[in-house]
């Protein structure tokens, strides 16, 4: 509901803003995410990241392009993807669902996921998605993150997360 309300309010604004304006507003309202990316990491990292992405998709049309059919493309559809994130001890779980050009965040597990990411802790997840000298395979090598399902969804998510951090000026 909150997501839908947010989209209803923010999407129209994004269309009249230049891409840089969308990035600026995202940056303005994502201080906590920037802190999580830059500084000390907390258990809230995943939640903050997902909501940060959700906000970015609403307000930045450039960022939103990641989940839309490319302009001029006659085939294909908006990105559809169901992600489940959880810790190995099952204490933290969250889900992100992409559908019809929107992202919806859930604080609980979803079924029928395309990919499930089980991570040791918040720091491992941050390293998995953002660390400068690491990439996704590297985290798998370090055995800190386990992925079930379609790895390509993780690669796409990894790009989107880094694209957001770039727009926030921390990438």
């Amino acid at each position: 509901m909150a997501s839908r309300l947010k989209r209803t309010l923010l999407n129209p604004i994004s269309y009249i803003l230049p891409d840089s304006g969308g990035n600026f507003i995202t940056r303005l309202f994502s201080k906590s995410l920037q802190e999580e990316l830059f500084g000390k990491i907390t258990d809230k990292f995943l939640e903050i990241l997902l909501y940060g992405m959700d906000f970015g998709f609403c307000i930045s049309k450039g960022f939103r392009k990641n989940i839309l059919v490319p302009a001029g493309c006659k085939q294909g559809e908006n990105f559809k993807g169901r992600y489940l994130f959880m810790t190995a001890d099952n204490l933290v779980s969250a889900s992100a669902v992409f559908n019809d050009g929107n992202m919806t965040v859930y604080k609980e597990e979803i079924a029928d996921w395309n990919v499930r990411i089980t991570f040791k802790n918040a720091a491992a997840l941050r390293a998995f998605l953002f660390s400068k000298n690491q990439d996704i395979l590297n985290s798998l090598l370090a055995n800190e993150v386990e992925v079930d399902g379609n790895l390509n969804y993780i690669y796409k998510f990894g790009f989107m997360a880094r694209d957001l951090s770039r727009r926030l000026g921390v990438g």
């Binding site: 392009k65 990641n66 490319p70 493309c73 085939q75 294909g76 990105f79 998605l129 400068k132 000298n133 690491q134 990439d135 996704i136 395979l137 590297n138 798998l140 090598l141 055995n143 992925v147 399902g149 379609n150 790895l151 390509n152 969804y153 690669y155 796409k156 990894g158 790009f159 997360a161 880094r162 694209d163 770039r166 990438g171």
Partner: protein, 843 residues
Amino acid sequence: MPEITIKDLSLRDYNLTDRVKNLKSAYFRAMPEICIERPTLITRFHLENGLFDKERIFILDKAKAYRFTLENRTPVVRHDRSYEKGMVPFKIKDTSLFAGSTTGKFKGVPLYPEFLALALWPELWTITKRKNNPFYLSEEDAKELNYNIFPHWMENTIQELSRKKYHPNEMKTFERLVFFLASKPNCISHTLPDFSKAVKKGLRAVINEAKDRRGVAKDDSQRKFYSAIAEALEGIIAYSRNLSKKAQEMADKETDPVLKKELFDIAKINNRVPEFPAQTFREGLTTVWICWTAIHLENPNVGMSLGRLDQVLCDLYRYDIEKGVITIAEAIELICCLWLKIGDHVPTIPDAGEQLFGGTGSNQAITIGGVDKDGRDAVNDLTYIMLRATEIMQLRDPNLNARYYPGVSLKGYLKRLCEVNVNTGATPALHNDKAVIKALTSKGEGIEQARDYGVIGCVEPGSNGRAYGHTGAILLNLTSALDLTLFNGRHRHTGMDLLISKETGDPTKFNTFDEFKNAFAEQSRWLVEQSSALNNIFGRIHQDFYPTPVLSALFEGPMEKGKDVIQGGAVINSSGATIIGLADVADSLSAIQKVVFEERGISFAELLDALNKNFEGYEALQKRLMNPDKTPKYGNEEPAADENVRWIIDMLDKSFGEKENYRGGHYRVGYWTMTNHAGFGRLMKAMPNGRKAHENFTSGITPVSAVTPVLTKALNSIAKQPVQCLSNGVALNLKYTPENGKGRDKMLENFAASVRAYFDGADGEIDSGNGGMEIQFNITTHDTFADAVAHPEKYPELLVRVSGYTAYFKDLNPQMQKEIIDRTEYLLSSGRAVDFEPFPLRE
């Protein structure tokens, strides 16, 4: 035996021409650039023809896709710019004698979204600036990949299609990365086409043959296959003609008479070949080159190899020399230009892949020398021309491999091979024909087929253009089998709570070494089963979605059978596995045998405790385990230690050999590790041979570093191993101290003598067919390597042998650099190892 007409086998009067110097300089200056032309065209074709929606993609559809791509790719005759360090553009004066390139870039990174290109997705914004081996990618191209190319392949990569269709349990073991790697999600490669038909008959003749066969085909599948061959080859011809047209246009506008003529020559040659039979040496080389680029359009180049080019092109060379069409200097210049072209692309490797494969080229092996199908010496003038070109170019690609047949090849040839090794520091690798031919015939190959082997990728032998072997299909980490044995089916990397394989017993309760060995064999067989089953699943997905018409057209068998190579069309249909960690595991078994079970010096529980503590508090034990005087080590002619190696090799050959692959052939086993012995080493904990956690494993079939002080003993231990169980090739990595000045001639003599002794085997009988299979060298001092670590800018071209292939030392990751520096170094004049302290690992 072909007559050698070259007087001075070293051809020392022939050096780099200005043309080659300039091209080489630009080559080393250029950073690799990601090229999106192929994925753009392939994706477009798949979209426009609904291939993403198909349950299965037939070979004719795929052939049409390749024809479309070949016809529509940009014909680049001359590159005019590239990017140097810091990604600053610079201009190139490209005067190569060959037109065309693997990608649209001077030094390109081709992308294959069907395979692993999507792994680069998270790095699109950062890949230009990454620490290890950065690739230039423009922002515009990054966006194109993100928005318009990659999304279409998310459900259509080989790995995902395999997962979706078969839900294999083995995939989980594979994705844990510490047990084995399977390379089919990345390619159908590591194989060896034959260019004889293309060179001698021309592709038009092959098309006509395909059309004739289509007329009498027995079913629709065969008809589609023959049509596909014709489609794919028409694409190759079209590409060459487009290059010809472009060269003609450029020649028309060129005002410099020399450059104008060169462009006219290219236009003329590319208009003729590869469509028609090559009439000159240069046309023959052009045919090989154009076909080579087409092969890479179909498949990523991971160890795709060019075979016996000195045999394929020898007649054309001799004819041209005799008729005065070319000179030796011109022939060497042509080869140098081709060598640079062959190295015009680098593999797509994500950042983590750099940890396992960092610094690798594409491992494009070329084979020279050896014997012909009748067993006669086949070394010819062109063999020496190629050696000289390799010596003066010092490039990592192509990876030159020289065959030597004891008792048949001439002495001067071996000495020359050793000399080139000394002068380049690392190439060519040397192969013992007798042992290799015995290994291949023991797997059922005919003697003529075996005699006509070429080297694939790193060191793997395969009958030229007949054996479709995918020799690098499986890379198995044997140390994981040991870990599973030590911890009763668990693995320290994945945690003690998780049962990975099966429980083979608590080793603390074993009473005899045999019980432990049996448990280890069982865990090894489990890994063999997992890896071969998954490889077969990937193979079947390739059959359904990734037919290979271009490769099939250049193989013996598919045309006769009317069947793609990946469907079993080739004459020989094996699959290859290579083993990582042989020496470390064998020495660990020997340590357990001696210290735990024979001497009862410590209990198994104490050993496990020492391993879990990485020998902290057990320093004396670790020292003892490392000491070759107290614990038997492979490579010292110690019967117990060498027997453990033999037992492992035999057990793995049997375990893999009984597995049938998806094409009806069987698996073969080899011991070459590329950089995986460093990569896997980084992940693995302490081992019973005294190796501490995260240290490198030993490469290939080489004994562990610093425990084999006497060269002849090391060579004898290795030469004793049963070649019939090593049919997928071995890499023996040795380091010799270069001796210059007065000692140089003596060193060369000792060098050649050491190779001869190793190839003859410990029994000294050259007719036994035993003896070592392969040997390769680094001839660079410890101090030079140390200096190259401190000042990489001083050594941009320092070439090293890794474990199979050659690489530039500067491109290797720190762990791999350390591994090479720490290898046992022998001084040939004394035959003993040189003392030095282990090199510290840089962060």
